[in-house]
Symmetry: C2
Subunit: 434 residues, 2 copies
């Protein structure tokens, strides 16, 4: 499929999607879930062709695991779709309503963004998740999956297209699938047709995309997360939090990457903490002061502080003060998730205020930084952007708003000059009725 043609079809489909009711979008979501259940065996067959091919080409085992669609993953997928159908419609919500003057009303109402470009690797379940989040929010979607999952992706995209076109007004062109690296390069140029890119994959992929497009990108390249153990931390609590943040699932973006400790408690805390980390086989890379306390720690080099380890490796640094911890984090953090352990409300609040990250925590593990744990129902991803959506992003990251004005022949010239009418700017508690 020609990429420009796919983008034009998606844009055209997105124009039609704004007229589809939330009820119809939800019915289409349930139809996709039913169809996946019905075709489960066929999905697994097609998927096994991809995984066999991947084994032959010596794809790394974790990647093959991600590629593989088993019964449990398919069950998660269909449950997720049925849950998504139950969530409140993110479209058509009135954010503000105001009378500007007698008979002249202003409404600010949520609407779909338009065309989303999603780029992901390996996981074919991500294709279904992203496409259906876009369906729920009334957006068209251009999907670019990994070539290792080509057969599964094509089958699933076809299944979705076949399921949705039975519903009045939902164009099957709402879902477009691209396959090759060249397709991706071309897609990144099409800022006229694509409103937002959502990459899900390695930090290399995300950085490549951010560098090579003028289309806004929602997501994060890296998760370089910190916990700072303050002078007055409850040390046993600090040990449990830092253990959880590092070891509970080290391969993810919200896992702990660097531990900072106030010098006043460094001896006491690091001795305890070090033992726990040794039991879990965590490799420690410390600064000079850390290595005087934990003799077995390796030396941390400058590069370590800005490297996302995604593994049982942890940087450790002893700091002189809360301010030094904040400065270190603002310099080296990827502005994703950073925490403090302290019993002082005042010092905790200073940290939460001054650390410039999407999620900041006091006395809790960085691993809580997650849309499902936040109760958002569905997660688009975690964003380190400063604009639009920051932190864990639910469906609200896939919508924008427009201003609607209804008058009765109002003209601006009545509001200027000598006998100018005045605006009243009275808040209405009215909802826009589409």
């Amino acid at each position: 499929m020609d990429v420009l043609d796919a983008a034009k079809r998606a844009r055209s489909a997105s124009r039609n999607m704004v007229g589809v009711s939330g009820e119809t979008r939800n019915k289409a979501l349930l139809a996709i879930a039913d169809e996946i259940d019905k075709q489960k065996e066929r999905i697994k067959e097609v998927n096994s062709e991809d995984t066999e091919q991947a084994s032959k080409t010596n794809l790394a085992t974790p990647l093959i695991k991600r590629l593989n669609l088993n019964d449990s993953k398919i069950a998660d997928l269909t449950k997720g779709l049925r849950d998504l159908a139950k969530l409140e419609d993110p479209i058509g919500k009135t954010l503000l309503s105001k009378q500007l003057d007698e008979g002249l009303e202003l409404y600010k109402v949520t609407c779909p963004i338009g065309v989303i470009g999603a780029v992901f690797e390996s996981r074919p379940d991500a294709l279904v998740q992203i496409a259906t989040l876009c369906l729920k929010s009334g957006n068209a979607i251009i999907l670019k999956g990994g070539s290792e999952a080509a057969r599964t992706n094509e089958f699933l995209a076809g299944l979705i297209r076949n399921s949705i076109r039975k519903f009045d007004g939902i164009p099957e062109d709402m879902v477009q699938l691209l396959e090759t690296r060249e397709d991706l390069a071309r897609l990144l140029e099409l800022d006229e047709y694509v409103d937002l890119l959502i990459p899900r994959g390695s930090s290399e992929l995300v950085r490549f995309i951010k560098k090579n497009t003028t289309i806004p990108v929602l997501g994060h390249a890296e998760g370089i997360c910190h916990e700072y153990v303050d002078a007055d931390a409850a040390l046993d609590m600090a040990v449990e939090i830092c253990y959880d943040a590092k070891t509970q699932y080290p391969a993810v973006c919200n896992a702990l990457n660097t531990l900072l400790v106030h010098q006043d408690v460094a001896d006491a805390f690091l001795s305890k903490m070090g033992k726990r980390y040794q039991e879990a086989h965590v490799e420690l890379r410390g600064d000079e002061k850390t290595r005087k306390i934990l003799l077995y720690a390796k030396e941390a080099v400058e590069e370590d502080w800005s490297t996302e380890h995604l593994d049982l490796i942890l940087n450790v640094k002893v700091v002189d003060s809360l301010q030094q911890a904040i400065d270190h984090i603002n310099r080296y953090s990827s502005h994703h998730t950073d925490g403090i352990v302290t019993e002082s409300e005042e010092r905790g609040r200073k940290f939460l205020r001054d650390v410039d990250s999407a999620v900041v925590l006091q006395n809790a593990s960085t691993r809580f930084s997650d849309g499902y744990r936040f109760g958002f129902g569905a997660e688009v991803g975690i964003s380190t952007n400063k604009i639009h959506a920051r932190g864990p992003v639910g469906l609200d990251g896939l919508v924008t708003y427009k201003y609607m004005i209804v008058g009765a022949g109002h003209v601006v010239s009545s509001y200027v000059g000598k006998s100018a009418k005045a605006f009243n700017h009275r808040n209405l508690e009215k909802h826009w009725d589409p």
Copy 2:
């Protein structure tokens, strides 16, 4: 001043700004207003040096008018500052508060974006407006003004820096001033230090900036606005609206650029409308059907439909249907502001829903698309972005949010596996107390 150095100073200042209370920021705004009043004569002297120089270099008269700071503009400026001080603090607002589980609370709280880059031409009053909007919202600002206003800009930036540094915690480095085109080119590269660019000026300037930076840009390049007169429009109302939209202030982005008319009313409407436009010396450029009705209309060429006229020139087209009008607008509009004149609620709602623009209107002039008329108090600009802020943007376009979590030693491992605790995701009606 070295641009990188200026950007680093701004970033550092922005880190300190988060600790400055709303009360202190408001006091600083009032101090700037007082200082402008006090130094009014000196400001006019410095400004007259710029305007004299500009006259010598044969700068166009409208540009010299914009450059000139007279008593009335200075009075508007100080009144604006005192009004801004009265507006609600956009920082520290709790957007959401939730209990995730007993003792584990989540807050979503507004905070400054960080460092804003503002690029503007000619008007030195824009420097004061933008710098003070950033002060109100706790952001640092890097200003790049036009070289024709160099003396005035330098004086005003110095005045602001001198006024704010008297206030506890507000670093004078909050305001940075650049001057040359080379400085701008360098600034556009500094995505590590600048979080958002706000260009105010010609569409050429805005397009140049959008093309040459990876920093997000807030604003619009063009205002190609439409009014569509439907088959069942009240024609006298339509005449008044289309007259106002075109002639009330033709040089601005929300002025009418193209008029679309349903064929059923084309004869009756265009005959009336044409007379009014002739009286106002509006040059009409029509399609074939229009020129059969208005014999004096010039021929519209393809380029006209996508050209922002900013003058008493108007494109006119007769369409077969509401859908054709919507399709024309979605193709040629700059997605800024578009309106319909119709007595049909159903057809009005379809137009408002299907036209993909920041502001859509029924039975009102496009000229209402404006932050002050919307009652936003202060206007950052008008955005045609689909993400972050769309349409007229108030102070909310200069803030982002962060998620703050306060726990009591909570770890994620308690919420997974066999005896997993459950989240309760209970809404709290609590406000974050900074």
